[in-house]
């Protein structure tokens, strides 16, 4: 359960988040969409403390995050994150990428960590690639490894920050398929994405952001069929024209 309560943040004079509030239930899949520069990525990064907040608070399964809270280690253990540019560790094999945090953060034994990693890599369809290095994989494969790496810590929540934006078009679906599978299994997910097909068919709800504000929160299907705000209508008209 994630409770975002009146969160604001500025970079100098530029206010990137303006009194954002949202509530995400366990098992819910929420897509954050909106024009670029609207604060989507910043908002999602506040949820695991990668971005600090200036005011307000965020509650993530019992962990309270506020401007004065600096020790976020416990929070990060329960929140997995997938980045736009994968950010796999290039000097480590696929297997080591998935085991390193298990061993160092969760203090699992190497054997247990590898077993877990192999299970997860099989789940994302990459069983045959465990000894390869990230640079030997395609973008789609790298992103699936990144998902396995995040899942290896048994997170309660998964954050996806534009997970398919850096991919060639033919690789988008293999990543979305993994995400869809995850959603079906009841994972709580927050995704910043431009994949409107995914948003419509997999997400429960859509948060529409513009100019640092959460302008509209709606049921996914409803949002696409009958957006309420003018800004959401304009945004959808632009991206769904083709």
């Amino acid at each position: 359960m994630i409770e975002i309560d009146n969160v604001s943040k500025s970079y100098g004079a530029f206010q990137v988040l303006k009194n954002c509030s949202a509530s995400i239930a366990d098992g819910e899949v929420v897509v954050i969409c909106g024009p670029s520069g609207s604060g989507k990525s910043t908002l999602i990064k506040t949820v695991n403390g990668l971005e600090t907040i200036d005011s307000g608070q965020i509650n993530v399964s019992g962990f309270r995050l506020a401007p004065d809270v600096t020790n976020v280690a416990a929070l990060r253990r329960s929140v997995g994150m997938v980045f736009q540019s994968f950010e796999l560790f290039p000097h480590l094999t696929v297997l080591s990428n998935v085991t390193i945090a298990q061993i160092k953060v969760l203090k699992r034994s190497r054997a247990a960590a590898e077993e877990k990693a192999l299970t997860l890599l099989a789940r994302v369809g990459l069983s045959g690639h465990t000894t390869k290095y990230p640079a030997q994989l395609s973008g789609g494969q790298q992103q699936r490894v990144a998902i396995a790496r995040a899942l290896a810590l048994d997170p309660k929540v998964m954050l996806f920050d534009e997970p398919t934006s850096a991919l060639d078009p033919e690789m988008v679906n293999e990543v979305l398929d993994v995400m869809t599978g995850l959603a079906r299994q009841g994972m709580t997910m927050v995704c910043v994405t431009h994949e409107m097909g995914f948003a419509r068919s997999v997400a429960n709800r859509v948060l529409f952001m513009d100019d640092g504000e959460i302008v509209e929160t709606a049921d996914a299907v409803k949002f696409f069929d009958a957006p309420q705000s003018e800004r959401a209508k304009a945004f959808l008209a632009k991206i769904l024209r083709h």
Binding site: L50, R76, E87, F89, P90, H91, I100, A101, V105
Partner: protein, 228 residues
């Protein structure tokens, strides 16, 4: 004048002893310099204003004075300092070898620090974010993720600096240490064989440095990620 190869053969054991000391200085300078230099680099990049100012000041100081002066300082001043600190009233001899090892570590660390710092800065900010997101502690992130990448990214430059270090070891002749050049100088003066000795050590320095720089060249091609 004639070149006397017999004189060279006689001198060889002593020259090899000198070469061994040169290699020792290089090895100590590289290992100690990279360890201390990496700590300096991390201190410079740290968010603590105090740490980063101190490290920056140290690096700038060392890089602004000649190595030969640092050798003199450590050789002549440190015995006085130790004597003063231990209240023994007179300088405590430190010994040429120890002086040299300490000097090279202190001095080279400043150069290695800047190289390692460049290595850290060449890592994308996303890698730092990924470490944070996975909950890795600063220590774990630096040890297992960031430091290996930083070193890898600057390995050719580190090796190039090491070649310079290897050549700079010859400066220890100013405190009469017997490194390769020191050994050659001593024999040259004793036997009046300047040409043979200085040509020979010239060849030895060249062989080592040229081989090392060829290795660096090869390494650069192989280090790119994915080129395995």
């Amino acid at each position: 004048m004639t070149v006397d190869l017999a004189a060279l053969a006689n001198a060889l054991p002593f020259l090899l002893k000198g070469l061994w000391f040169t290699l020792q200085i290089t090895l100590v300078g590289v290992s100690g310099g990279i360890v201390f230099g990496s700590l300096l680099a991390i201190a410079r990049l740290s968010q603590s204003r105090l740490l980063s100012t101190l490290a920056t000041a140290y690096v700038n100081l060392m890089r602004s004075i000649p190595l030969i002066l640092v050798i003199f300082w450590v050789f002549f001043l440190v015995p006085w300092a130790i004597g003063w600190m231990t209240a023994s009233g007179r300088p405590v001899a430190v010994g040429a070898s120890l002086t040299i090892f300490v000097t090279f570590v202190l001095f080279e660390a400043a150069y290695y620090a800047e190289i390692v710092r460049a290595g850290f800065r060449s890592i994308s900010p996303g890698q730092y974010a990924a470490c944070d997101a996975l909950g890795l502690s600063k220590f774990h992130a630096y040890t297992y993720i960031l430091f290996p990448q930083a070193i890898r990214n600057v390995l050719p430059i580190l090796l190039t600096q090491t070649i310079v270090l290897f050549q700079d070891t010859s400066l220890v002749y100013v405190i009469s240490a017997t490194d390769l050049l020191g050994a050659a100088t001593k024999i040259a003066q004793r036997d009046g064989r300047l040409v043979e000795m200085y040509l020979t050590v010239g060849v030895i320095y060249f062989v080592f440095c040229f081989a090392a720089s060829q290795f660096v060249k090869q390494l650069q091609g192989r280090l790119a990620y994915g080129a395995r």
